[in-house]
């Protein structure tokens, strides 16, 4: 019983880290008043960019440097995801296209790009075995000796560095949004862009920055999934898309507070893996159990809308375009 509980926790943390990154990025974006439904696509872009760049690097030298591998993976993922965010920002802010439709298009585009290259990288490179980046993946999965220090050590320290990076990002984001001038400016834009504009805040610039940086952070979820979760390979099974949508759902669950994303993400992980640890389930009743995270999100949605309390609401101008001349 105790071992299976530990297994469940380990699985939940790994799962939660993927969606935590996606969720934090989306919180920053939504605080600036843009609902980006392109999170799954952005996570796809981040995942494939890191995989492709490291694949090329590992193929080009005999002794790949682990630290360089990690830097290349993170940097390329951040750039690719931020570029995805930039396309979304350009279309929705400058060209005033509808945010939901643009976001969905970004998801289609991102999953197309990622699955296309993920599935044919080997053919393009003239090799035929399954794509793999063992060196980088081992660097991402490396753990400190603390992980061997009994049960506590195992539960707390047996993860790759990105698990801790996610938690740190959540804390920094919380501090940035609530305790800095720039964070305040950003929240003002999300609540009332016209007032922010009148106060001399550059709405366009801040929105662009928030969306691109938010997208970059979301993209790290893809990196963690590819490098750590599935150990540096690629699977065309649409999992990143599912995880991306759960990340969007988690934003609601956290009521737009990144600090809540830490426990919220792990809770989603527990709900997701729970079916493996409930005895006596047949294969078909397992499928019913896998509904849990989605059903819980629906319940949270309903409860927050019923309670209608002021500090648990989305940014007031979320999803609305801002055009100075139209007031």
């Amino acid at each position: 019983m105790a071992t299976s509980l530990i297994q469940l926790l380990l699985g939940a943390v790994a799962f939660g880290t993927v969606i935590m990154f996606g969720c934090i990025g989306e919180i920053i974006t939504e605080k600036a008043g843009n609902l980006n439904l392109g999170v799954p696509g952005i996570m796809y872009l981040g995942g494939i960019a890191s995989l492709a760049s490291v694949f090329i690097y590992e193929g080009s030298t005999d002794a790949p440097n682990k630290i360089l591998c990690v830097i290349i993976a993170l940097l390329s993922a951040f750039i690719a995801s931020a570029l995805g965010g930039l396309v979304y920002a350009f279309l929705t802010i400058t060209l005033k296209a509808n945010q939901n439709v643009t976001g969905l298009t970004l998801t289609i585009f991102g999953s197309g790009v990622a699955n296309f290259f993920g599935g044919s990288l080997n053919t393009l490179a003239g090799r035929f075995e399954q794509i793999a980046v063992p060196v980088t993946s081992s660097a991402f999965k490396a753990v400190t000796p603390l992980s061997k220090a009994g049960t506590v050590g195992k539960v707390l320290f047996s993860y790759g560095f990105m698990v801790y990076l996610a938690v740190i990002t959540a804390v920094i984001t919380h501090y940035f949004l609530n305790h800095t001038r720039r964070g305040l400016n950003l929240r003002t834009i999300g609540e009332n862009p016209a007032a922010a504009d009148a106060a001399g805040i550059n709405v366009t610039k801040n929105k662009y920055l928030a969306i691109c940086i938010g997208a970059g952070i979301s993209g790290f979820g893809g990196v963690y999934y590819v490098m750590d979760y599935i150990k540096g390979t690629w699977a065309n099974d649409g999992s990143i898309e599912t995880l991306g949508w759960l990340a969007v759902a988690l934003v609601i669950f956290t009521t737009w507070k990144s600090i809540n994303a830490i426990w919220g993400a792990y809770l989603f992980g527990i709900l997701y893996w729970m079916y493996l640890y409930i005895p006596g389930l047949t294969r078909s009743s397992q499928e019913i159990f896998k509904m849990l995270p989605y059903v819980v999100t629906i319940i949270v949605l309903i409860v927050t809308s019923l309670r209608n309390s002021k500090d648990k609401q989305p940014p007031a101008a979320l999803g609305l375009p801002y055009f100075r001349e139209e007031r």
């Binding site: 005033k96 969905l104 296309f116 949508w245 294969r283």
Partner: protein, 367 residues
């Protein structure tokens, strides 16, 4: 913050246009599609080394090279158009129903269930029962988020999105219940001997009934949105809920009614997918069409006939990209990439229809 003190004209200013004539509108839209096709051609050339013109010839052959292929493309177009037709009233009302994927699956599950359990019935009554039950199932699936939106303003975007995943798990559940042969974890082709519940061949073609059904739905939806009181109420609620309330329209009633309709048509799309195309059910029965169709409906400005045209374009790109992928031994996700790029361009082109740019010099001349 620094340069706000001095008042100066910006170099470029964006000005909202009045209504544009339909001539230039169509030119801009066609232009954006052409430009995006050129960009995609260059991209494919860079990746595969194929000559861009040859790429489109290959794509055309893949989509319309033989009667069988043409009908496969048309079947895909009808499927996509059917979902878009279902989504149109919801989106016109600004109800963000991104749960079409789930509504299709629920319709599909019910259709497959009828095919498996009622296969003793003759074709015609069976088809009618399947049509009615799948529409009802889709409508019920859409009703839940609609009621919460109408009564408590629960966010419908995420509600409908989550309903997709509940529907996917429900599909997995039924797939493992109905699996055939045992242990395969697929349902297999249902009634492959008797063909009970399959769309019959009409005029020697398997997909004639798909075309008839979807074109009928398209015309009905066009009339419904354009010429009925319900359609007018949907337009008013979509433009401004406050105006609707002021005019005495019951907003929650309109939301619930419209979502029932929207879900029903998406459920029918599931019936089309199971009974009129694949004759099986799996979690990929909806295959992302629920999302793509949103963009189809939005870009067509909810006009049924434009929806058919855009669906044709996307179906062509889909089967064309599959052809290129199989020729170059690449995988067929290339079609999603190309569709994404084209949609980006069409979305961007809308800007030039709604707004115009004013440069500084012009502004001075005007003044």
């Amino acid at each position: 913050m620094s340069d706000n003190s001095a008042v100066k004209d910006p170099f470029i200013r964006v000005v909202k246009r009045g209504d544009m004539k339909s001539g230039p509108k169509i030119c801009i839209r066609i232009g954006s599609v052409v430009v995006s096709l050129i960009v995609c051609g260059i991209l494919i050339n860079v990746i595969t080394g194929l000559n861009p013109v040859a790429v489109y010839v290959t794509m055309f052959k893949g989509a319309f090279g033989s009667t069988r292929r043409s009908f496969a493309t048309i079947r895909e177009m009808m499927m996509l158009a059917c979902v878009a037709i279902g989504l149109a009233p919801a989106f016109k009302m600004k109800f963000w129903n991104i749960g079409a994927e789930g509504q299709i699956l629920i319709g599909g599950i019910v259709s497959a269930g009828c095919m498996i359990n009622l296969n003793m019935l003759p074709t015609f009554p069976l088809l009618i029962i399947m049509f009615a039950t799948s529409a009802a199932a889709g409508a019920l699936w859409a009703l839940l988020p609609a009621v919460f939106k109408a009564k408590w303003n629960t966010n419908e975007t995420l509600f409908t999105l989550m309903m997709n995943y509940v529907a996917i798990q429900l599909t997995s559940f039924f797939v493992s219940k109905w699996e055939n042969p045992k242990g395969s974890n697929t349902v297999g082709i249902i009634n492959s001997n008797t063909q009970a519940g399959w769309f019959p061949e009409i005029f020697g073609q398997k997909y004639t009934l798909n075309i008839i059904l979807v074109v009928t739905l398209a015309i009905l939806m066009w009339v419904y949105l354009k010429y009925t009181k319900h359609g007018y109420e949907i337009a008013v609620v979509g433009d401004s809920e406050n105006t609707a309330r002021y005019a005495g329209i019951s907003v929650s009633k309109v939301i619930i009614r419209t979502m029932l309709l929207s879900g029903a048509v998406c459920g029918i799309a599931g019936f089309l997918a199971v009974s009129g195309a694949s004759h099986t059910i799996s979690t990929s029965t909806a295959g992302g069409r629920g999302f793509t169709a949103i963009i189809v409906a939005w870009l067509a400005k909810f006009n049924s006939f434009y929806m058919l045209l855009i669906a044709l374009l996307l179906a062509f790109l889909g089967s064309g990209a599959t052809e290129i992928a199989s020729k170059c031994k690449l995988n067929d996700y290339a079609s999603d990439m190309i569709i994404g790029i084209i949609l980006f361009f069409i979305l961007a082109s809308e800007f030039f229809i709604n707004y115009r740019l004013v440069f500084r010099k012009h502004a001075k001349e005007e003044a």
